[in-house]
Symmetry: C2
Subunit: 243 residues, 2 copies
Amino acid sequence: MRTAAALVIGNELLSGKIQDQNVMVLARALRAIGVQFRRVVMVLDELDTIAAEVKDLSRTHDVVFTSGGVGPTHDDVTIDAVAKAFGVDTVYSNEIDDMLRAYYGERITPGHLAMAKVPRGSRLSRAKGEVWPAIIKENVWVLPGVPQIFAMKMSLVQEELKGDAGWISLAVHTTLDEGNLKDHLDRVVAAYPQVDIGSYPTWDNTGYRTKLTFDGLDASAVERARDAFLAYLAPEVIVALDK
Amino acid sequence: MRTAAALVIGNELLSGKIQDQNVMVLARALRAIGVQFRRVVMVLDELDTIAAEVKDLSRTHDVVFTSGGVGPTHDDVTIDAVAKAFGVDTVYSNEIDDMLRAYYGERITPGHLAMAKVPRGSRLSRAKGEVWPAIIKENVWVLPGVPQIFAMKMSLVQEELKGDAGWISLAVHTTLDEGNLKDHLDRVVAAYPQVDIGSYPTWDNTGYRTKLTFDGLDASAVERARDAFLAYLAPEVIVALDK
């Protein structure tokens, strides 16, 4: 199975000023195309830290996504860091330069043009109808951190990386707590090693105590695991079955 | 400055089923007590992955917080992983065992009692008035992933780790875009190396284009950096000043 990792960059996240929204968006996009999202690392705006992490993640995963640090100001060091991770310098992209000049017109400044810098050997890719490209250096996609723009890039990610099948997810909500269903659950987990089974207690007043999830690439096995778990439960403790 | 890292554990996060809420809560709690939160790693429910990460983070940071994987079911492997990271086995805590029996009474099952397992040599700590303790092994705090319970632990974290001073944060919202303020900003960044200055563009229709942030432990330096930046701006491009 193909694997993916994300490097989420920004002091504003680790200082608690903003809530990351990109990890969940990326997770859902990857899941739908059958890529296993294995790891997220969140770091400060530090060139060497980012470079070391990109180097490590790009060697250990099939595809890596960075989020953030691609603007023109001093705290935007991702482009330089990705270049450093691959041992190359940066070059100015005439294609991005042209786009920036078309967008800003006479108001353009050297600050704006700083955004045309890319790691040497990058390719630019865009979804049909999109103006701004994603910058891709080997297996590393350099994506902007602004959540609206990051989310817009997911159609391109899915288009380029789509595989044969997405994950299937089923869920059971029950009034039993985890301690009371553990024995049943352990048997189902042992019987269906190809199904990823999760158990999540809730402390909200939502009418159930535990949500069980059944996930996998093989829809039939996922259904059989869910049904095997259900077979142990008295009907009155089952609150809901979800896709 | 003391440093911290977090290890956020759970398949449900990397599959996009739920949005992490704990990183921001922890970030704010640490910031208020002057601890630098440097790194977050998010991984799947895999014992060896978690153990390797705990080992690494605990060596490279003053304090580490894990979130998730502490229930009684098969996908809860954090306690075993933390034990493995420190090369110890797990033991049953009589104190937690007593609490579980008091809480569940006659309904208690071996599944519930599985939650009394802790890494050997852990200590238990609780804030005044709290029933359930946090499990702390050396510099690693093992916290539950359920957001309501994770958030409740922050008062204990702050009580145990509080230092002399928290971070001071100031912000300026301006109608200028990053390309137009980069030159000014670079001068201020160079002049105030002890202040962490951030620049965040927005694509929402919020009445401003860029938010500048000024953060540090030295309140006077933070104010001077903010004022030095403001001195470059025409009054009409300043939308708001925030604490």
